[in-house]
């Protein structure tokens, strides 16, 4: 009886169009986040996820101020911030985290300024801060599908170069790889993934959404390929289970997804420690 009740709930869960959209977009974006997250973790750039998430806040606030769909402003805004971080990192003596910290703060300050200029938009802004599956539209699903296609292509064409540069940037340059070009492409794709993910998990949790599955994968995987595949699997599993639990328990989806990811991470820590004994 309990089992059949759960099946009914699951069918119920799948019956709503908003939930179908959230599930498809969540699955695609979580897989992408796991994939790109391994490079953030391995390059010790976890803070970049937080920085770009907050940069998206500036773009979203500008979209709300201008009365334009926030996604269309947040995407170029975040990509420009990502390019700015890369430029400051490679053309000045400042370290990456300093560059991220500066752009992070400026973007948040701009976001607050834009929201203060447009009264009555605080509710919309809150849905972006904490994520709302109700806000995932058909456009988001289609963009996520296109981005997932790009992700699959880069897995074939760019993963090996990104992995090599993550391990040893100097060796990759000696082999003739255009490390700067590869880095720029990777940063732009991470920025787009973050902006799209903000609708599901929110600005405050988007860095965790990208980093935790990769960190769990790193603890368990013997090779970088295994780390990549396990991060994608952990991330997709967390998104589906998190969305289902959030529906079942009527809790905020972003928070539940990240807590499921955290539970997987704790499991990975325990497993890794038992292996090393």
């Amino acid at each position: 009886m309990v089992c059949s009740a759960e099946v009914i709930l699951m069918v119920d869960f799948m019956a709503y169009p908003f939930m179908q959209r959230a599930l498809v977009a969540g699955l695609l974006l979580s897989a992408l986040s796991g994939y790109y997250g391994v490079f953030l973790v391995q390059r010790k750039l976890s803070f970049l996820g937080a920085g770009l998430g907050h940069a998206a806040f500036g773009g979203i606030a500008l979209g709300l101020l201008l009365g334009i769909q926030p996604l269309w402003i947040a995407l170029p805004f975040t990509v420009v911030v990502a390019a700015g971080i890369s430029w400051v990192k490679s053309h000045t003596k400042l370290s990456g985290d300093t560059a991220i910290g500066i752009f992070f703060s400026v973007s948040v300050a701009l976001g607050i300024l834009f929201l203060s200029l447009k009264s009555g938009q605080q509710v919309d802004a809150f849905s972006y801060l904490f994520g709302s599956i109700l806000s995932v539209g058909n456009t988001d699903v289609w963009i996520s599908a296109c981005l997932a296609l790009v992700g699959i292509v880069t897995l074939k064409t760019h993963w090996a170069a990104w992995a090599y540069a993550s391990f040893d940037e100097e060796a990759a340059r000696i082999e003739g790889l255009s490390v700067r070009g590869h880095d720029t492409l990777l940063t732009v794709l991470i920025a787009i993934t973050i902006v799209l993910s903000v609708k599901i998990v929110g600005i405050l949790l988007v860095a965790a959404w990208m980093v935790i599955p990769a960190a769990a994968g790193r603890l368990l995987a013997p090779t970088f390929k295994a780390m990549t595949l396990s991060a994608i699997a952990f991330s997709a599993f967390s998104a589906v289970l998190g969305l289902y639990l959030s529906y079942l328990l009527d809790l905020p989806s972003g928070a539940v997804i990240v807590l499921v990811q955290s539970a997987l991470f704790i499991f990975a820590v325990v497993l890794q420690r038992s292996w090393s004994k």
Binding site: W159, A160, A171, K225
Partner: protein, 241 residues
């Protein structure tokens, strides 16, 4: 043959290398000595085209077509999830391997065998000792049979026996492949008893030539401020004796 003329490197207002000038013949073995911050690694980065410089570096086509490089292991991210054979395969694929076919695997295993590391192929690099990782890097460096082999402090973090084994492998490779070797080292034994040429750097070129010509007491004092551990070797004994 490699010929370097009037090589200088300036980063911002800091002069890293000044007017370095030498030629090393094919199958020569040059030990590069000098204090920390003396420009040794910068010289290597210039040869590897990783650093902008003024002056000229001329390498004949045989030596420039493929350069084997063994970096300092202390600068590497040992926590990267990778097996030793994957690391060696990067030299073949020129990127990180997603998978290895049987032909690639055979070449990699052969390269590991040549440096006495055949048993390490499936080990994760985080579990390797300093000496074992240096062997793996050496296998990676020699896999394409390069005519120029560059090593940045290969004995750092390696015990004495391991360092001696590594040096023997490098020497054997140089002789069998007719390769040129450039090695940054703090080991006086290498400079005096293995190298055909010695370059002493302290931003500028303090000395260059055959060991007994370059490693004079005056040159060592100028570079290091004291004779220190080189004294035993200068007087014909063991450096640590």
């Amino acid at each position: 043959m490699i010929s370097i003329h009037d090589l200088s490197v300036q980063v911002g207002d800091k002069l890293i290398l000044k007017a370095v000038d030498f030629s090393l013949p094919s199958n020569g073995f040059m030990a590069v000595l000098g204090p920390n911050g003396g420009g040794k690694s910068t010289l290597i980065r210039c040869i590897l085209k990783l650093q902008e410089y003024s002056g000229s570096i001329e390498l004949d086509s045989e030596h420039s077509s493929r350069i084997g490089y063994v970096p300092q292991i202390k600068t590497l991210d040992r926590s990267f999830p990778a097996r030793a054979d994957e690391l060696v395969a990067t030299a073949l694929k020129r990127k990180w391997p997603w998978s290895m076919n049987s032909e690639c695997k055979e070449i990699v295993d052969d390269a590991l065998d040549k440096v006495g590391a055949g048993h390490l192929g499936h080990q994760q690099i985080r579990n390797l000792s300093g000496g074992e990782l240096q062997r793996v890097y050496l296998a990676r460096a020699v896999i394409g049979n390069p005519k120029l082999l560059i090593l940045d402090e290969p004995s750092a973090g390696v015990d004495q026996a391991g360092a001696a084994d590594l040096l023997e492998i490098v020497e054997n490779y140089r002789r069998s492949a007719g390769a040129m070797v450039i090695m940054i080292t703090h080991d006086w034994e290498v400079a005096f008893h293995h190298a055909t040429h010695v370059l002493v750097l302290k931003t500028h070129q303090v000395a260059f030539g055959k060991a007994d010509e370059a490693l004079t007491e005056k040159a060592i004092r100028e570079a290091f401020g004291h004779v220190g551990h080189s004294h035993g070797v200068l007087s014909g004994g063991h450096p640590d004796g």
